[in-house]
């Protein structure tokens, strides 16, 4: 179930003194089952773009196709699209409202009109998938820590069984362990359920470890869209727009400059270590 975006533009506050052209001529193909990272500087339009994927924002011009159907066409079932493309927002506080965690996670499936049994079994399944301990199921969501709240928020979307899971900065404000936990969990989800995952983030390091494709946003435009190792080749350009390639990219390029014959396109520490050891053994 693929999403295709064609010539999408979006202007906030069109026709007022505070017009903001947030997206410019976006063209993207998001096929099934990919694990995609979306990176960009603050205000580059990432959150704006992903809200078009489930029709929460309607492009000022251009089109979005879901399974080759134009979602802006009359009679398109927007509500169904929203259950197929699950969007977890930046702040879990914006969606938690029920008296306890379990009931909150039930909200989504209940809105789909499922039976009580089906709703509850989906909620259990979702909470298990995000790795929240059972003792928290009956606790008020407002008493949880930041990382736990985020898990509940993700579970709230997962319980709707989406085919595409979009996460807007799921690691903002978490400590390194909390961050790794959540990202590992998401990667496992991708493996287990074979769903498309789009991970929005500021940090190349985070994204490089998990994703197979990176979309770099800059000033409302797609700047790069490629495999991580290809994107990181442009580390100088990335720096110019306030981003950075992972540390190992710099290390490998530095070694190359000193005459070491190592490949410069390693994206993770493990890969880089392997390449260096191989080089040292050869020489």
């Amino acid at each position: 179930m693929a999403i295709r975006i064609e010539h999408l533009n979006y202007i906030y506050g069109a026709g007022t003194a505070f017009e903001k052209h947030a997206l410019r001529d976006i063209n993207l193909d998001l096929p099934d089952g990919q694990f995609i990272g979306m990176i960009g500087h603050t205000g580059s339009g990432k959150s704006t773009l992903i809200q078009h994927l489930n029709g929460l924002l309607k492009g000022t011009s251009g089109a979005v196709y879901y399974n080759d159907k134009n979602i802006y066409e009359e009679g398109f079932e927007m509500k169904r699209l929203r259950s197929r493309v699950g969007l977890v927002f930046q702040y879990p506080e914006h969606q938690l409202f029920e008296a306890d965690v379990f009931t909150d996670v039930c909200f989504g499936p209940k809105n789909l009109g499922l039976s009580k049994e089906e709703t509850e079994s989906r909620a259990y399944e979702a909470l298990r998938l995000v790795g929240l301990k059972e003792k928290y199921y009956k606790v008020s969501p407002f008493e949880l820590s930041g990382g736990q709240k985020r898990r509940v928020a993700i579970a709230g979307i997962l319980a709707m069984n989406p085919e595409v899971l979009v996460l807007d900065e799921p690691t903002a404000g978490l400590d390194p362990k909390g961050r790794d936990d959540i990202l590992d969990q998401v990667a496992k989800l991708h493996e287990e359920k074979k769903i498309t995952v789009i991970l929005v983030s500021h940090s190349m390091e985070d994204v490089a470890r998990y994703v197979e494709r990176i979309i770099v946003m800059n000033k409302g435009q797609v700047m790069f869209d490629d495999a991580p190792r290809k994107v990181f080749q442009h580390y100088k350009e990335l720096e110019a727009i306030g981003l950075a390639a992972p540390q190992v990219t710099y290390l490998m390029h530095g070694l190359q400059e000193r005459g070491w014959k190592v490949p410069a396109d390693a994206t993770t520490v493990e890969e880089a270590a392997g390449a260096i050891i191989e080089y040292l053994q050869k020489s």
Binding site: K79, S83, V88, Y91, E93, Q95, F97, F107, G108, L112
Partner: protein
């Protein structure tokens, strides 16, 4: 979607009107409104039109924005016009069934419509050229004499400026929460009245929690910086009248006098 509702729709531009002391603009709006209702003659309306046109020109705000405020009163205006048209006694011009349209009725209806439109545009000029903060500052200073009779002027002004500051923040927050819940299949549009009210719960709970948290944080931040009410408090940018403000007051006075004369003895005679 919610952003379309703007309160205090300031339009940033670099004009003399933007720079004027808010008290002058408050007084100017008052003078203009008084002139609309005190002087009732075709000549006086010509004068008011010229004045308004000049002010709009000076403000550098596109006319489009001035006219936006009119949308909200279209219904009220139609109602006034219709009532005045059919319910005024006098010389009958023509009849529509049992309703009679009179000469006097047409005249009143036209004048009422003009008044309402000018009233809205006149106050829009003020809100478009003055930031909400300046406006409350101006009000506080203008109402200061009331402090002598124990009206808590400073507290009222502080509450007003905090409220004004929070309206856009809360609107934005509402927008975000609505989207987050719509992503979970929430429906804020369909259903009967009771169903609709029920559907609001997923919106209202996070909104209230966030509002309380913000209020709490703000109170804490204010106390941490030593806020203890208005007594002995000074301003970073105190309102002081400058040359242009005095000129503006003189122009306002001139406008009133001219309008008075025009209304009494006719347009051209009045101007001479």
């Amino acid at each position: 979607m919610l952003r379309d509702i703007t309160l205090g729709q300031y339009y940033p531009a670099n004009s003399v009107l933007h720079k004027l002391d808010p008290r002058v603009k408050l007084a100017g709006t008052m003078v203009f409104i008084v002139s609309l209702f005190a002087f009732r003659s075709a000549e006086a309306y010509i004068g008011a039109t010229l004045f308004l046109a000049a002010v709009i020109r000076i403000s550098k705000v596109p006319l489009k924005f001035m006219l936006k405020g009119l949308k909200s009163i279209i219904f009220l205006m139609m109602l006034t016009v219709v009532f005045n048209l059919f319910l005024t006694r006098g010389t009958v011009v023509f009849r529509l069934g049992f309703l009679a349209v009179t000469e006097e009725g047409i005249e009143t209806a036209v004048f009422m419509a003009i008044r309402l439109v000018y009233l809205i545009i006149g106050s829009s000029v003020m809100t478009l050229t003055t930031t909400p903060n300046d406006l409350t500052d101006g009000l506080e200073k203008a109402m200061r004499p009331l402090g002598k009779v124990r009206v808590p002027v400073h507290e009222i002004a502080m509450m007003m400026s905090i409220a004004l500051r929070f309206i856009p923040i809360l609107l934005e927050e509402t927008d975000k929460i609505m989207k987050a819940q719509m992503a979970r299949g929430a429906d804020f549009e369909s259903g009967g009245l009771i169903q609709k009210a029920k559907n609001m719960i997923p919106l209202l709970v996070p909104l209230f929690i966030s509002a309380f948290r913000r209020a709490n944080d703000l109170a804490m931040a204010m106390e941490a910086r030593g806020y203890h009410g208005g007594e002995g408090r000074t301003k970073m940018k105190p309102l002081v009248y400058r040359g242009r403000d005095k000129i503006a007051y003189l122009l306002l006075l001139l406008y009133l006098v001219l309008m008075f004369l025009v209304n009494r003895i006719g347009f051209f005679a009045g101007l001479i």
